[in-house]
């Protein structure tokens, strides 16, 4: 270890949606590595320890050949402007400042913008629009919640500090004894490592979450339900009734839910049922619901998209104004239907995790990729930029899963530009090209300027 050591206090871990901002990082500036990350969970420790910079790697490539950043920006802008139905996708692992530039680019090129929300809590977004949301911050949960229910999620492994920092063992103003002042329930289809942390584990038959939530709603409203509920869902009527009594009689109840609800059969109706249950319970006590979000700034992506376009994900600008229609304007659907002719992929790797039909189409069209590392997507990209990592090499703003904005601190410098810098340069060039295209169209007449269509 060199002697050129720096300690960064109150740094932020952007690995998961908890966005813990109490990290104490020890940085070896000669080695350009983080050697110690105090307060981080096992996932955060890995996030910091495994971060390294490949200084020899090119900052920009076209068709896998190194080029200057200026050339790559020019090619990226031309590709996007010449497309008829370009998509922008990703955005959950970058700063809000970069996300904002991505929305501006998509607006200029009349494209389609979508975030990784559409493949995780997108159904919750649809449900929020349909049902509404009783919401809170995690600080309120820490200080007030005396009944905490986790549904369809496994925070012990996916968000390890969620229990200790916010919701289970955390000690707050009205919960001075931590877990002793709370009743914690985990509902899932299998006994996960989160179950031992709870006072009560309720096992639901796979694919029956909606039926259980619907039965709970009926019981909250004192309506009769099918007495065979146990045969249908695996949960007895007594258990449900006891849970309902507990929910009605708590002071401050919280429902946290994960992708066990949003990505199983029923999707937005599962999330909607849970949100409606929280709403129903407000007849009796204070009850809130919140999705437990995955990526570090996926909540920021929803927020930036919402305040810039009015909708959280799956937004289309083809007609010059934003339109929202999940299923039509969401990325997997568009790629699988081969409706897209160019893609701007930011800080995500769809080529490694999308359905094969979507990946096959991605390989056929020009892709512009911004990523901190070599990825499957960057390898098939027409233009690939290597950017610096947010939260470690880049400052900016991210949103915690409860929609609280948090400012990032930089640990050390990266030789690579930030997502925001690249996207700002692309935006500037795109706007110039769009203006020039408009002038050309005005001079020659619309139809002549348009590219030929594919005759049958």
């Amino acid at each position: 270890m060199s002697e050129n050591i720096k300690v960064v206090e109150n740094a932020t871990c952007t690995f998961c949606g908890c966005v813990c901002d109490d990290m104490i990082l020890t940085v070896d500036l000669d080695e350009k590595r983080i050697t110690k990350s105090k307060n981080a969970c096992i996932l955060g420790k890995a996030w910091f320890a495994e971060h390294y910079i490949e200084e020899d790697a090119p900052a920009a490539m076209i068709d896998n050949k190194p080029v200057s950043i200026e050339e790559a920006v020019e090619e990226a802008a031309r590709t996007l402007v010449n497309a008829r139905f370009p998509i922008t996708y990703g955005l959950s692992d970058t700063t809000c400042e970069a996300q904002r530039q991505a929305v501006a680019i998509t607006d200029s090129i009349k494209g389609n913008i979508d975030t990784t929300t559409s493949v995780c809590h997108g159904p919750s977004g649809i449900a929020l629009q349909g049902v509404g949301e009783s919401t809170m911050t995690l600080g309120e949960v820490k200080n007030r919640a005396d009944l905490v229910i986790y549904w369809g999620g496994n925070p012990a492994e996916s968000h390890p500090r969620h229990f200790g920092r916010y919701a289970v063992t955390a000690k707050g103003m009205f919960t001075p004894r931590g877990k002793k002042d709370r009743h914690v329930v985990v509902v899932d289809v299998r006994r996960t490592p989160s179950a031992p942390a709870a006072n009560q584990f309720i096992q639901v038959k796979p694919g029956k979450d909606f039926e259980v939530l619907w039965a709970l709603r009926a019981l909250v409203k004192n309506r009769a339900i099918d007495p065979d509920i146990e045969a249908i869902t695996g949960v007895s009527l007594e258990t449900l009734q006891e849970l309902v009594d507990r929910m009605k009689n708590c002071r401050y109840g919280v429902l946290f839910f994960g992708m066990g609800l949003t990505m199983t059969r029923g999707r937005h109706f599962n999330s909607g049922a849970l949100l409606a249950l929280a709403t129903d319970l407000n007849e009796y006590t204070h009850f809130v619901a919140k999705p437990v979000r995955g990526h570090g700034n996926v909540t920021g992506a929803d927020n930036v998209m919402s305040w810039q376009t009015g909708y959280p994900f799956g937004v289309n600008f083809s007609r010059g104004f934003p339109r929202f229609n999940p299923g039509e304007f969401t990325t997997v659907d568009l790629l699988a239907k081969q409706d897209v002719d160019a893609a701007l992929i930011i800080a995500t790797d769809p080529a490694s995790n999308f359905p094969q039909a979507a990946i096959d189409h991605l390989a056929k069209i020009p892709v512009i990729c911004l990523d901190t590392k070599t990825s499957h997507t960057s390898q098939l990209a027409h233009v690939a930029f290597r950017t610096s990592t947010y939260g470690i090499n880049t400052e900016g703003t991210v949103y915690r899963m409860d929609d609280v904005p948090i400012t990032l601190r930089k640990a050390f410098d990266s030789p690579f530009p930030t997502d925001e810098e690249i996207l700002t340069a692309v935006k500037k060039r795109v706007r110039e090209l769009v203006l020039a295209k408009g002038r050309a169209r005005g001079a020659t007449g619309e139809s002549k300027a348009a590219a030929p269509v594919q005759a049958i």
């Binding site: 139905f85 629009q129 039926e211 309506r223 339900i225 029923g266 039509e328 002719d341 269509v453």
Partner: protein, 269 residues
């Protein structure tokens, strides 16, 4: 004589053709129709770039092509006349239409007749998700009219429908009639799961057994008088077995988390 649109070019990105409606074609010559705008992705184009136009408009539009799957919004907002489509058609067919008729000899995909208030849509093949439904964020789906699907429909048929009829000759997907406010849905085949979740009023009829939500309760088995009338009407459109006309139906009330004034009727023999 009708006006004919024969597809001559394939859109390689989604095309929005909400100008293909009788009201826009009225008084137009074929050359005038060719000049009407469509959106090809973000690019403004003309109908003539993709279709050859012939005939004379008398209230009927014939659209023919093997690559209409990306052509969206045909008949959107139409209030009169007839559109006949030969081929598989794209999304939002007859969106928010208030009158007239659309016939499709082929399959349709998602959003057939969303938020329509009148008129008739008949699909001779299958339909996708969200037949006669509300768009996301809207409180009401179709408020009137008739949608006939000869084949199968997928999820959320009649989502938040407020009035009108949806008849499906084959099977329907999950959440048929979800959040339904009133109106009627007939499914001659099998229902998916979670039928009528959150329904306030309205009727959902199926000729097969179905698994219902725990918030639906059995009330009786009887012969609803109106069933024979409805089924006689439907038997002129597709085959309806004789026994369904005279059979008894098990009536389930729901959804008890809402008003509990909706009904699911399952053929009992």
């Amino acid at each position: 004589m009708a006006i004919f649109l024969k597809q001559i070019a394939t859109p390689d990105v989604p095309m929005e053709a909400d100008n293909i409606t009788p009201a826009r074609f009225a008084g137009q010559t074929p050359a005038g129709v060719e000049k009407l705008a469509v959106m090809h992705g973000s690019e403004p184009r003309r109908i003539g770039d993709f279709f050859s136009v012939s005939g004379q408009f008398d209230g009927t539009i014939n659209v023919e092509g093997d690559h209409l799957g990306r052509v969206k919004l045909i008949g959107a907002g139409m209030s009169r006349g007839v559109i006949q489509v030969d081929g598989d058609v794209g999304e939002h067919l007859g969106a928010a239409m208030s009158g007239g008729e659309i016939r499709v000899n082929g399959n349709a995909t998602d959003w057939v007749g969303p938020e329509m208030s009148g008129g008739r849509i008949e699909i001779h093949g299958n339909a996708g998700h969200m037949v006669g439904s509300a768009y996301r964020g809207a409180a009401m789906g179709m408020t009137g009219g008739e949608i006939i699907i000869h084949g199968n429909a997928r999820n959320e048929a009649g989502n938040a429908m407020r009035n009108g009829v949806i008849a499906i000759g084959g099977n329907s997907g999950d959440f048929t009639g979800v959040n339904m406010l009133s109106g009627s849905i007939f499914v001659l085949g099998e229902l998916g799961i979670r039928t009528g979740a959150g329904m306030k009023r309205g009727s959902i009829v199926s000729m097969k057994e179905a698994t219902l939500l725990p918030t639906f309760s059995y009330s009786c088995t009887y012969r609803p008088g109106y069933m024979t009338l409805y089924l006689l009407h439907l038997s002129q459109i597709f085959a309806v077995a004789e026994e369904y006309l005279e059979g008894s139906y098990k009536r389930y009330c729901g959804d008890s988390v809402e008003l509990n004034r909706g009904e699911v009727l399952l053929y009992a023999g």
